[in-house]
């Protein structure tokens, strides 16, 4: 349901082509093909009804106004979108979300890449232990970790006590009560929760790399940094693309942390755009039409960023 796993479809590079199935459903192959469709039916129907149909409905809804069940088409039709243009809070939450994206995702992916590379070293001992430790944050729910971080970063909490104890600060910092520090805590939380997750994907990618290419580079006299940069990294490109798209999607849909860690505060300045959408839909004066318009902007941004990443990542060198 949430944003946890979103890989890209591998190209249809199947090694063994099956013999073509028969034309009519009366033939044996045809009957088998029909059985195949029956196997796919429940999954396909569910995705149609639970994903595509609501997406279409959301678009219709974004053209409507009204309260509760009393909805009618807006006058003009794009009224909700017009309202969005003038909505300062919407723009602020969108800016904040993009800020999280630009700062957190690159740091996280580089960290994950370095960690995966260290863990892939055949001479490293206790691999399982390291991997488990670094992946364990991913087993914790977003709400749980948000509340743990909220407790650690409380004004009279652990982080301030440690910093004061080390004489790094004179008086406690009000982490969650100031815009920049609240945003900082969300970024730290995201890094903590997701770095290990991306590392697992890089580890899987590294395991699929032919080791002889790395050996060949070593024989040719390349040092480990050069080998990594010119041999390993290019082969990891599909996996980097995958994690970049997943993380981008996830960050743009950020909700749990904004809601539970900072409660969007102070004064909406650490609020994510999804959190704002929730406020518009279910808190204060619920306005489904306007909320649907906001959700469509999120959809367009996700699609645009994915398209850009695919375009950039797919360039053959």
């Amino acid at each position: 349901m949430s944003t946890q796993l979103t890989p890209v479809a591998p190209a249809a590079d199947r090694q063994d082509e099956r013999p073509p199935s028969g034309r009519g459903f009366s033939s044996l192959g045809g009957r088998r093909s029909l059985t195949g469709w029956v196997f796919l039916l429940p999954a396909a129907l569910l995705i149609l009804v639970m994903n595509f149909w609501p997406m279409f409905q959301a678009f219709i809804l974004s053209l409507q106004t009204g309260r509760g069940a009393q909805l009618s088409f807006a006058e003009p039709l794009w009224f909700n979108y017009q309202r969005m243009l003038a909505d300062q809070t919407f723009w602020m939450t969108l800016r904040t979300t993009l800020l999280y994206l630009v700062i957190q995702v690159p740091i996280m992916l580089v960290l994950a890449l370095i960690l995966a590379n260290i863990l892939n070293n055949p001479r490293l001992r206790f691999k399982g232990m390291w991997r488990t430790a670094i992946f364990l944050p991913c087993a914790v729910s977003l709400v749980s970790y948000a509340l743990v971080f909220r407790t650690m970063f409380a004004t009279d909490g652990l982080v301030n006590d440690v910093l004061t104890g080390m004489n790094l600060i004179d008086s406690p910092i009000n982490w969650l009560g100031q815009t920049q520090t609240a945003q900082f805590v969300i970024i730290v939380g995201l890094l903590w929760r997701w770095t290990g997750y991306n590392m697992v994907f890089y580890l899987a990618g590294l395991q699929n790399i032919d080791h002889s290419t790395v050996e060949a580079a070593k024989v040719d006299g390349a040092n480990s940094v050069k080998t990594f940069w010119y041999v390993t990294l290019p082969q990891l490109k599909p996996m980097i693309l995958l994690t970049a798209i997943m993380s981008t999607n996830g960050t743009i849909q950020l909700f749990d942390e904004s809601y539970n860690l900072t409660a969007g505060g102070p004064a909406y300045t650490s609020m994510s755009v999804s959190h704002y959408l929730y406020e518009v839909s279910f808190v204060q004066n619920p306005n489904f039409g306007y909320a649907a318009a906001i959700s469509y902007v999120i959809l367009v941004i996700v699609a645009l960023l994915a398209a850009i990443q695919l375009k950039v990542g797919d360039k053959r060198d």
Partner: protein, 270 residues
């Protein structure tokens, strides 16, 4: 010390810092669950004797049993149905492969690009129209058919020898029989990996249950812990205990199945 081991020192330091940073908040959570609120804020990092007291306070303030039951029901129900629907689809895509089925797979994968925010409100209205708010069905249905899990099973089915299917057909086993009696037992590690992914996602899901479960009696563990902070005074010991109880099932599941999980993920993205 040899030169080689000396060179790996920075990596080891980096790894150690990362591992400690990963585990520390979890240690803080566990230790704080056994301390008083004052001790938590006083940054006591040693286990205390407050565990039973915290549990009593939590039980007095919240219907913990109901939330645990609701979460379990939702997560187990989602996992069972999703494993069934997604594995049979993944198997179907591979074993009955055709060009049109490939096209359908492409369309289904597009669903992964749809942000939940863009479908949440229509989904809510849809279930409300059928009078299904505050029901397990409403929580489970949108989470059963997961493109990523279908993909996982399709990749697994790719390594499933086609000769076995042919032999079973000759022996007179029906298509469903082949799936139930041969595919499922041989694909245990894929099922384990998929189960970890689905169970974790379902158990930890917050936004959708929060939206659709209007009736308080149906609240899940993530909803319960989120509500604990809405009062004026937060008891941090009690909060951390509730957070720990919420995290335990998924963490234990992951630790038990992590080998199969890693195998499943690695196999799926080959």
């Amino acid at each position: 010390m040899t030169r080689r081991s000396l060179r790996s020192v920075p990596s080891l330091v980096f790894l150690t810092v990362a591992a400690l940073a990963s585990v520390f908040p979890l240690y803080f959570m566990v230790v704080s669950a056994t301390n008083t609120s004052q001790d938590v804020l006083g940054s006591r990092l040693l286990p205390g004797g407050q565990l039973v007291e915290n549990l009593n306070k939590l039980l007095a303030a919240q219907d913990l049993g109901a939330a645990m039951w609701n979460s379990t029901l939702n997560a187990v129900g989602t996992t069972a149905l999703a494993l069934l629907v997604c594995s049979i689809a993944g198997y179907g895509f591979e074993v009955f492969h055709s060009r049109n089925k490939d096209r359908l797979m492409g369309v289904l994968l597009l669903a992964m690009m749809i942000p939940f925010a863009a479908t949440m409100i229509p989904l809510f209205r849809m279930f409300a129209d059928f009078g299904l708010t505050s029901t397990t069905i409403a929580v489970i249905l949108p989470a059963i058919s997961v493109p990523f899990v279908i993909l996982l099973f399709r990749q697994a089915a790719r390594s499933f020898p086609h000769e076995i299917v042919e032999a079973a057909r000759i022996d007179g086993l029906r298509e469903l029989g082949i799936f139930l009696r041969i595919f499922i037992p041989t694909m245990r590690s894929t099922y384990a990996a998929a189960a970890v992914v689905i169970f974790m996602t379902a158990w930890n899901n917050f936004l959708w249950p929060k939206v659709i479960l209007i009736n308080e009696a149906f609240q899940t563990m993530p909803m319960l812990i989120s509500n604990l902070t809405s009062g004026y005074v937060t008891d941090y010991g009690v909060l951390m205990l509730a957070v720990l109880l919420t995290s335990l099932p998924t963490m234990v599941l992951f630790l038990v199945l992590q080998r199969a999980f890693a195998q499943g993920i690695t196999g799926a993205i080959k």
